[in-house]
C-alpha cells in the first residue's frame, strides 16, 4: 500500500516536472507579451515593467507593420476552409484505401509514398506559376488550395486507424443492404472521432504555421492581405525587431487562443470517441 502511494506521488512529480519544462517557453512568451520594453529582454525572465500596450497596439491601433485584426481574420478564414477540405480528403482517401479493395489500390498507395519523399519547397515555384495561371496568387483561395489540395497524401495515419475498425461491423451493414456510401457515412465515420479530431486539428494548424508558401503567394506586399504567420515573421525583420518583438509575442499569444479553444472543444469529442471505442471493442 505504501509502495503504491510512493509510486503515485513519484508519477505526479514526474508529470509536474515535465509539464514545467514544456511550459517554460510558453510562460516566457506570455510574460514577454506584457512587457513594457519593446525589444528582447535578455537579462531577466520576467519583464521589469508590465504593460498592456502591446495588446492595445496590436488590436486597436493597427499601423502598416501590425495589422493584426486583418491577419487574424484572413488566417482564420483560410484555416477553416482548408481544414474542411483537407479533413474530408484525408478521410475519403483513408476509407477508400482501408475499407475497399480495387485494382489500383496498391499502385496508388505506393505513388503516394513516393510523392511524399520529395522536398516540397523545391516544387514551390511550379505551384506558384500554376496558381498564377489560374489567377489565384494574392488570393486567399489560392492559399486554401495550396494547403488542402494535396492533403490526400497525408492519409496514412487515418488509414492506420480505420484498419482497426472491425470488419464484422461493415459486413453486418452490407447484409442489411446498406450501400458503401452509407457505411462510410453512418458506420465508419462515427467510430473515427479520435482520428477526425486529429485530422481536423492538424489541418487547421497549417495556415497558422506556414510563412514560406504564404509569403510567396501573397507577394503583392499588401500587408492587410497577409496571414498571421507572414505578419508576425515580418516583425522580426532587422529594422523592426527592437520595436516589435513584444508585439510579436503578444501576437503569438493571441494566435494560440483560438487553437487552444479548438483543442479544448475537441478534447470533449476525444473522450466520447474513446468511450465509443470501448463499447465497440
Amino acid at each position: 500500500m505504501n509502495k503504491r502511494f510512493v509510486n503515485i506521488v513519484l508519477r505526479h512529480l514526474l508529470l509536474a516536472f515535465l509539464a514545467f519544462i514544456w511550459l517554460i517557453p510558453i510562460v516566457w512568451l506570455l510574460v514577454t507579451s506584457f512587457s513594457a520594453y519593446t525589444g528582447i529582454n535578455t537579462s531577466t525572465f520576467f519583464p521589469q515593467e508590465w504593460s498592456l500596450q502591446n495588446y492595445k497596439n496590436l488590436l486597436f491601433s493597427a499601423d502598416s507593420v501590425a495589422q493584426f485584426p486583418n491577419w487574424f481574420k484572413n488566417t482564420f478564414i483560410v484555416a477553416c476552409c482548408s481544414c474542411v477540405i483537407s479533413s474530408a480528403f484525408v478521410l475519403m482517401v483513408a476509407y477508400a484505401t482501408s475499407c475497399m479493395r480495387f485494382k489500383m489500390r496498391k499502385p496508388l498507395m505506393n505513388m503516394a509514398v513516393i510523392m511524399n519523399l520529395f522536398p516540397g519547397f523545391l516544387s514551390m515555384i511550379a505551384v506558384y506559376f500554376i496558381l498564377r495561371t489560374l489567377n489565384l496568387t494574392n488570393n486567399h483561395w489560392g492559399l486554401v488550395l495550396v494547403y488542402s489540395a494535396s492533403s490526400g497524401l497525408g492519409y496514412l495515419i487515418a488509414k492506420g486507424f480505420l484498419d482497426t475498425v472491425p470488419v464484422s461491423l461493415r459486413e453486418a451493414a452490407y447484409l442489411d443492404g446498406a450501400s458503401e456510401a452509407k457505411i462510410f457515412w453512418s458506420v465508419v465515420l462515427p467510430m473515427s472521432q479520435p482520428i477526425i479530431v486529429y485530422t481536423v486539428i492538424s489541418s487547421f494548424l497549417a495556415p497558422w504555421m506556414d510563412f514560406i508558401f504564404a509569403k510567396m503567394i501573397l507577394n503583392a506586399g499588401v500587408s492587410s492581405q497577409w496571414t498571421v504567420a507572414i505578419g508576425l515573421f515580418n516583425m522580426l525583420d532587422r529594422s523592426l525587431i527592437n520595436t516589435y518583438f513584444t508585439q510579436f509575442c503578444a501576437g503569438g499569444v493571441l494566435v494560440s487562443i483560438p487553437i487552444s479553444v479548438l483543442f479544448v472543444i475537441m478534447q470533449k469529442f476525444y473522450v466520447e470517441g474513446v468511450t465509443g471505442g470501448s463499447v465497440k471493442g
Binding site: 508519477r11 505526479h12 508529470l15 509539464a19 514544456w22 511550459l23 517557453p25 510558453i26 516566457w28 512568451l29 480528403f89 475519403m92 482517401v93 476509407y95 477508400a96 475497399m100 496498391k106 496508388l108 503516394a112 513516393i114 510523392m115 519523399l117 520529395f118 522536398p119 516544387s123 511550379a126 500554376i130 495550396v146 488542402s148 489540395a149 494535396s150 490526400g152 497524401l153 496514412l156 495515419i157 488509414k159 492506420g160 482497426t164 464484422s168 450501400s179 458503401e180 456510401a181 452509407k182 479520435p194 494548424l205 504555421m209 498571421v228 504567420a229 508576425l232 510579436f248 509575442c249 501576437g251 503569438g252 494566435v255 494560440s256 483543442f263 478534447q267 470517441g273 474513446v274 470501448s278
Partner: protein, 481 residues
C-alpha cells in the same frame, strides 16, 4: 525487393491486358463502337444512354478546345523551350514599353507538362470508352439489362464508391504535387540558373550534364563531395533521432497520463497540448532567442557560474555557451528542442490509438498475471507499431525533409567555422533540404537544386519503399480485425 519487382511486373501486365482488350473491342465492335473512335458518345447514344453520351461528348469537346486553344501554344516549343528572347523598346508617347512576343521557358515547360497530363487522362478515358462500348454491345447482343443513368450513378455509391471518394483528392494531388514534381525533375535536365532566368533569358535542355557536373570533375565546388557526405550523414542521424525520440517519448507520456493511477489526466494532457497551440514558428523563434549567445539562458548560466565552470573544463572556448551556434552543441539542442515540439503531437496520436486497444486482450493478459511491463512490451507496443508503423515511416521521411525546425532555429545564428563546408555554402547543421533552400533562394541555382533533389529522392525512395512494403505488406493489414 522481389515483392516490389513482382508488383511492377503485375502493373505492366495489367497495362498490357488493357491494350489487348482495346484491340479486341475495336476489331470485333459494331459500327457504333468504331464510330466511338471519333465521336466518343456514339456507342452510348446507340444503347440509349443519352445523358452519358452527352457528358462524354462534352468532355471530348473540352479536351479538343484545350488542345487547340491552349496546349498548342506551348507544346510545339517544348523541344527547345523557346527561341524568342525578350526585347523591349520604350515609347515615350504612350509612356509604355513595347515588348516583342517573347518565350518564357518555364511557362513552356510547365504548360507542356500540364498538357501531357491532360492528354494522358484523355487517352485513358478514350480507351476505356471503347472497351465499355464493346461491353455494352455484347450485353445488348446477349439481351442483358443495360444500366440506366440512375443505376450508373448509384453504382458510384456502391461498388465504384472508391472512384467517388478518390476523384477529388487525386486530382488535387495531381495538380499540386505531381505536376510540380515532374517540373522539378525536368528542370534537372535544363540549364535553369541565374544566368538563364526567365522571362528575360531562355533556358534549354542540357541532357545529363548537371548530373555529370555533380559527381564528375570534383563536383559542384572543390569541397562539394566533402560537404555532401557530411550533410547527408547529419540528415540521416537527425531523421532517426528526431523520429524515434518523439515517437517513444509520445507513447511513454501518453501511457503515463492515461494510466488509471494518474489523477486529472485531462488537465495534464491540456498542459502539454498548449505547446502545440502556439504556432511552431513563434515558439521556435522564441526558443532560438531563449538559447541565443546573449540570450536569457546564457545570462542565467553565467550568473550561476555554469559558463565559467564549462570554460574551466575546456568544454567551451567562448564567453557564452554556444547552444545553437557551435556544432555538437547545436546538434544536441536541435534534437532536444524537437522533442519538446514533437512529443505532444505524438502523445495525441498515441492516446488515440491506445484507447482503441482491444480491451479483452489486455484483460486476459492481466488475468494471466502479466506484469505491466510485460503487457507494455508484448501487447501495447506491437499494437502501436502495427497501427502507427506506416506513420512512423512517413514521419521519418518528413523529418528528412524537416525544413522548419532547422531553419527557424539556426538561420542567422549558426555560422560554421569549417571552411570546407562554407566553400560549398553548407553548414554542419544543414539538412539536405535547408542546403537546397540556400542554393535556390540565395543562388537561384534551380538546375543544381533539382539535380541534388533527385539524388536525395532516390536515396530516400529505396529506403522507404523497402520498409514501407515490409510494414503494410501481405496479411498484416487484416491482423487486428
Amino acid at each position: 525487393m522481389d515483392k516490389v519487382k513482382g508488383q511492377t511486373g503485375s502493373f505492366f501486365g495489367a497495362i498490357g491486358g488493357f491494350f489487348k482488350e482495346f484491340g479486341t473491342a475495336v476489331a470485333n465492335g459494331d459500327i457504333f463502337v468504331k464510330l466511338s473512335l471519333i465521336w466518343m458518345g456514339a456507342g452510348y447514344c446507340r444503347r440509349k444512354q443519352f445523358i452519358k453520351s452527352i457528358l462524354i461528348t462534352l468532355f471530348e469537346i473540352a479536351v479538343i478546345a484545350f488542345t487547340f486553344g491552349f496546349a498548342m501554344d506551348y507544346v510545339p516549343k517544348f523541344a527547345t523551350l523557346g527561341t524568342v528572347q525578350q526585347e523591349s523598346v520604350f515609347n515615350v508617347v504612350t509612356m509604355k514599353n513595347e515588348f516583342n512576343d517573347y518565350d518564357h521557358s518555364f511557362m513552356i515547360l510547365l504548360f507542356s507538362l500540364i498538357s501531357f497530363v491532360v492528354w494522358a487522362i484523355f487517352a485513358v478515358v478514350y480507351l476505356n470508352n471503347i472497351i465499355n462500348n464493346y461491353k455494352l454491345q455484347k450485353m445488348e447482343q446477349e439481351g442483358k439489362h443495360i444500366k440506366t443513368f440512375k443505376e450508373d450513378l448509384i453504382s458510384f455509391l456502391n461498388e465504384k464508391f472508391h472512384i467517388t471518394l478518390l476523384a477529388l483528392p487525386v486530382s488535387g494531388v495531381v495538380a499540386f504535387t505531381l505536376v510540380p514534381l515532374l517540373v522539378l525533375i525536368l528542370v534537372a535536365f535544363t540549364n535553369y540558373d541565374q544566368q538563364h532566368m526567365p522571362p528575360s533569358a531562355l533556358f534549354t535542355w542540357v541532357g545529363f550534364r548537371n548530373f555529370r557536373d555533380l559527381f564528375g570533375n570534383g563536383g559542384l565546388t572543390v569541397t562539394f563531395g566533402y560537404a555532401f557526405v557530411r550533410v547527408l550523414a547529419w540528415t540521416l542521424v537527425w531523421a532517426v533521432f528526431a523520429t524515434f525520440t518523439t515517437y517513444i517519448g509520445g507513447i511513454l507520456l501518453s501511457i503515463l497520463i492515461n494510466d488509471k493511477k494518474t489523477k486529472f489526466p485531462k488537465m495534464w494532457r491540456t498542459l502539454f497540448i498548449i505547446t502545440i497551440a502556439v504556432p511552431q514558428f513563434v515558439s521556435l523563434l522564441l526558443v532560438k532567442n531563449f538559447f541565443g549567445n546573449s540570450g536569457i539562458v546564457n545570462t542565467f548560466c553565467a550568473n550561476i557560474g555554469l559558463t565559467d565552470w564549462l570554460r574551466s573544463m575546456g568544454l567551451i572556448g567562448t564567453s557564452y555557451i554556444p547552444f545553437l551556434s557551435a556544432p555538437g552543441w547545436a546538434h544536441a539542442m536541435i534534437i532536444l528542442i524537437n522533442v519538446w515540439v514533437g512529443v505532444p503531437y505524438q502523445m495525441l496520436i498515441a492516446t488515440g490509438v491506445l484507447m482503441n486497444i482491444p480491451t479483452e486482450q489486455l484483460e486476459s493478459a492481466r488475468i494471466d498475471g502479466a506484469t505491466p511491463r510485460q503487457i507494455f512490451w508484448k501487447i501495447t507496443m506491437p499494437y502501436m507499431l502495427f497501427i502507427t508503423g506506416p506513420a512512423l515511416v512517413t514521419d521519418f521521411v518528413k523529418n528528412i525533409n524537416n525544413f522548419n525546425v532547422i531553419y527557424l532555429l539556426t538561420a542567422n545564428v549558426f555560422v560554421t567555422t569549417n571552411q570546407a563546408m562554407a566553400n560549398s555554402q553548407a553548414k554542419e547543421v544543414d539538412l539536405l533540404v535547408t542546403w537546397l533552400y540556400t542554393l535556390t533562394q540565395d543562388y537561384y541555382n534551380y538546375k543544381m537544386a533539382s539535380t541534388i533533389g533527385i539524388v536525395v529522392f532516390i536515396i530516400c525512395a529505396v529506403f522507404t519503399l523497402i520498409s514501407f512494403n515490409r510494414f503494410i505488406k501481405g496479411d498484416r493489414e487484416e491482423a487486428y480485425r
